[in-house]
């Protein structure tokens, strides 16, 4: 900025406070899903934020205007102080959501969480078939445990979302997954196609569904939505690769959500650490409010003024906010490019090529999966 500029600076538009805090408490997890949203370079326990820092972050979040906190990971129950954090969130009026694999939970832990003020549990499933689920999760008898825990969650009086991440190797069983969600008493079912960043991008060829598979899945969801209307909410995220318009990633860059990594970095999105050229601020040295308002990384792609064409003049620019920066980087090499998920992007053909590849290999055996383990991370980077 030129401090001597004779032109007065344009008025800075007010920045709306974030609605949600995504608190990634740890990267530790007993499961090894090959599409994990965590970065390839994972934090070890020793570099995690301590309890006092998380408590301060929760207080700052509530004061800033955050209304919901998602305790995530890794596996958030790996943190010994989870109860204390839930209690503090509740004290600040925050709606707390536990995003868990469930395998470490039991009735006593769930009763304590409910008592501490936990509002909701999102339980992940890897499949409706136990053998396949355990193969993808890399955890023996994990699926059976999850079924037990789903009952225990309901017994503790906690509302339950059943989350299924879907991909080429399980999509055929989507009707069974929807039935499973219904059977365990979920009030919400989330069907999320794998998003291809991080570990999932490494495994894209083994995970991406064919167009025919996707169409059957869309039909299964439409049928279930009709049948379960008013009883179970079904949220369904279609993969970008098959879309003509990008999704509003995170509801727009630095518009609604602030993400804190296990080591305390604040990000506008959990994958933003993959973007080069950013010095992400740490909650160890700055307040959440100062970060949200002033951090150059948060302001970099906020709003619409950063946009290139075709976004800049597009009538959808405040609908999709230009799509996903991490995907733009991963595919075009430029995080500031139009998301290639958009049919108007000059790089959209790359999505179409990946889809064609997926269709071509759909009948053959899937390539081997690279599992999410701290020790394999070095091999795939």
């Amino acid at each position: 900025m030129n401090a001597l500029s004779p032109v007065p600076p344009a008025p800075v538009p007010a920045i709306e406070p974030p609605l949600a805090l995504l608190a990634e408490l740890t990267h530790r997890c007993p499961l090894q899903c090959p599409y994990c949203a965590n970065p390839l370079e994972m934090e070890r326990a020793a570099s995690e934020l301590d309890t006092a820092a998380w408590l301060r972050v929760l207080d700052e979040a509530a004061a800033l205007g955050v209304l919901q906190v998602h305790f995530s990971g890794g596996e958030p129950t790996a943190r010994k102080d989870l109860l204390e954090l839930v209690r503090r969130a509740a004290a600040g009026g925050l709606y707390s959501n536990l995003i868990t694999s469930g395998v470490t939970l039991d009735p006593a832990a769930l009763a304590a969480l409910a008592d501490a003020g936990l509002d909701h549990v999102q339980l992940s499933f890897q499949d409706a078939d136990a053998t396949q689920a355990d193969r993808i999760g890399g955890y023996r008898r994990g699926h059976a445990r999850k079924l037990e825990v789903s009952r225990q969650i309901r017994d503790a009086g906690l509302p339950l979302t059943a989350n299924f991440v879907v991909h080429r190797q399980n999509l055929e069983r989507l009707p069974e997954m929807l039935a499973l969600g219904e059977e365990i008493g979920a009030s919400r079912i989330e069907i999320a196609h794998v998003q291809y960043y991080g570990w999932a991008l490494v495994n894209r060829a083994a995970l991406m569904p064919s167009r025919a598979q996707l169409e059957r899945a869309n039909e299964a969801v439409a049928e279930a939505r009709e049948r379960l209307r008013g009883r179970i909410t079904i949220d369904y995220v279609v993969p970008d690769y098959y879309a003509a318009r990008p999704k509003a990633c995170m509801g727009g860059w630095a518009r609604r959500i602030i993400n804190i990594t296990p080591a305390g970095l604040a990000l506008p999105c959990h994958a933003a650490e993959t973007l080069p050229g950013f010095q992400w601020p740490s909650v160890r040295t700055a307040s959440l409010g100062a970060i949200w308002q002033d951090d150059p990384g948060f302001n970099r792609y906020r709003g619409t003024s950063w946009m290139p064409e075709p976004c800049r003049s597009c009538d959808q620019r405040e609908v999709d906010w230009g799509g996903c920066r991490c995907q733009a980087l991963a595919m075009t090499g430029d995080a500031g490019a139009t998301d290639p998920a958009c049919a108007l992007s000059p790089h959209h053909f790359m999505m179409a090529d990946a889809v064609a590849d997926a269709d071509a290999v759909a009948e053959g055996p899937a390539p081997a999966l690279v599992y999410r383990r701290i020790r394999t991370a070095a091999l795939v980077r």
């Binding site: 406070p17 209304l67 009030s187």
Partner: protein, 91 residues
């Protein structure tokens, strides 16, 4: 449900109404969702306490706003039915 009935509306578990002092607005917080409430919704939902019946709520609003009871009843029933479909309340 087409008329008022005598149902007692209540929030489902996982749905919570609160005032947001930062935005100076009432919101309903829900799993991975948030409903921003307009003024009529706030007036109705403040009376959804798991004890009052739909007719109780209509009576209270008709008195408070000095408005025709039938008009209030139609609005309240439509709003509650919509929230049932969204999973926020039960009747």
């Amino acid at each position: 449900m087409t008329g008022e009935g005598a149902a007692v509306p209540a929030f489902n578990r996982g749905f919570r109404m609160r005032h947001d002092p930062v935005r100076k607005a009432w919101v309903v917080l829900a799993p991975e969702r948030l409903f921003l409430l307009d003024e009529p919704a706030v007036e109705v939902l403040k009376l959804v306490d798991g004890a009052r019946t739909v007719p109780d709520i209509v009576d209270a609003l008709a008195a408070k706003f000095n408005a025709p009871r039938d008009t209030i009843a139609a609005d309240v029933v439509a709003m509650l039915q919509d929230l049932v479909i969204k999973g926020a309340i039960r009747l």
